[in-house]
């Protein structure tokens, strides 16, 4: 499966989290590198998306869309830094 850029998840993030965080700088919890989430690798399927670190390929974010709820797992991120709204 080929990947897209994290940028492609802008709509999904806005819909599920209420904020658009593709320009936010995330820190990978595994390799500890910092990068804009738009630069991470996005794998998109009909039921959701997985965002992986472009450097170490470890999982940063998983979003699963179920019929009546959305599951968001951000445990692969050490932190996120974004501009104040």
């Amino acid at each position: 499966m080929t990947h897209l850029d994290g940028n492609a998840l802008a709509g999904l993030f806005a819909d599920t989290l209420g904020i658009e965080i593709t320009a936010a700088v995330g820190r990978c919890g595994s390799c500890h590198r910092n990068f804009e989430l738009a630069r991470a690798h996005a794998f998109v399927t009909a039921i959701g998306a997985v965002l992986r670190c472009a450097h170490c390929q470890d999982t940063l974010v998983v979003i699963v869309q179920k019929p009546h709820e959305v599951l968001v797992n951000l445990s692969g991120l050490a932190h996120l830094a974004m501009a104040r709204p």
Binding site: H3, N7, A8, G11
Partner: protein
């Protein structure tokens, strides 16, 4: 228009549709609640079937600025769920649900402090957001130097052909991979690292680079750019996949 533009769902109406290439249409949507968008941003289109099934796909916006007329150019992926409907069935007057403007990363925002040259590199329909940037550049009196390198199969596959030839502030180089126009000095062929080096700004002038196209095109070109000495932090990419 430097403030963040909040994304939300909107209902647009197709004001105009016309054929863009043999496999693509240009859709002009009137979206009364659209807050405007930066050049290069995208939106999600959501289709809902009568049984409630929904399919959502992302499309780059070819227009920019504070306008409620939103222009898309959609290439058909024959096995896709959304693009065949947009290309063949959606008619003028029809309504469409759109979510945007999206993406604050793959955008060009004119700024007084950032005047380094801008290099745009497109593969196929990946030209859409880059065309939006070049078109936005036309409205800036004095700004960064722009170049567009556009890889496309044949002259009939060129998006925004008339508009690209009318650009006065962007140098446009079109490379044909399958068939060139009759008088073309260059035989058809894919880009190579050496030909890319000949077309793009050298790394010595530290251009900001935007690359958009299918995933293999973007991977290949971005890899060459790094080999040619460009700073990876200056390269922004937007890949598109095959789910259409």
């Amino acid at each position: 228009m430097t403030s963040p533009l909040r994304a939300s769902w909107h209902v647009g109406r197709v004001a105009r549709r016309r054929r863009e290439t043999a496999s693509a249409v240009r859709l002009e949507l009137d979206v009364p609640t659209w807050p405007g968008n930066h050049a290069g941003s995208h939106l999600d289109v959501r289709l809902t079937a009568s049984d409630g099934y929904q399919a959502t796909r992302s499309y780059s916006v070819a227009s920019s600025g504070e306008t409620t007329r939103v222009i898309l150019a959609v290439d058909e992926l024959p096995t896709g769920e959304v693009s065949p409907y947009l290309v063949h069935q959606l008619a003028e007057g029809d309504e469409l649900e759109v979510h945007g403007p999206l993406g604050r990363y793959f955008v060009w925002i004119p700024s007084e402090s950032e005047r380094s040259p801008v290099q745009l590199i497109a593969g196929g329909s990946g030209v859409v957001p880059l065309f939006a940037m070049a078109a936005a550049r036309e409205h800036e009196a004095d700004h960064a130097e722009f170049r567009l390198l556009y890889s496309v199969r044949t002259p009939q596959d060129v998006f925004f052909a008339k508009e690209l030839s009318a650009l006065s502030k962007t140098t446009v180089d079109i490379v044909y991979t399958r068939r060139s126009p009759p008088q073309s000095p260059r035989p058809p062929g894919r880009l190579t690292r050496e030909s890319v080096a000949g077309f793009v700004f050298p790394s010595s002038v530290a251009p900001r680079i935007f690359v958009c196209g299918p995933t293999p095109f973007v991977e290949t070109v971005a890899g060459w750019l790094v080999q040619l000495g460009h700073d990876p932090a200056q390269i922004r990419t937007e890949r598109f996949g095959g789910s259409g």
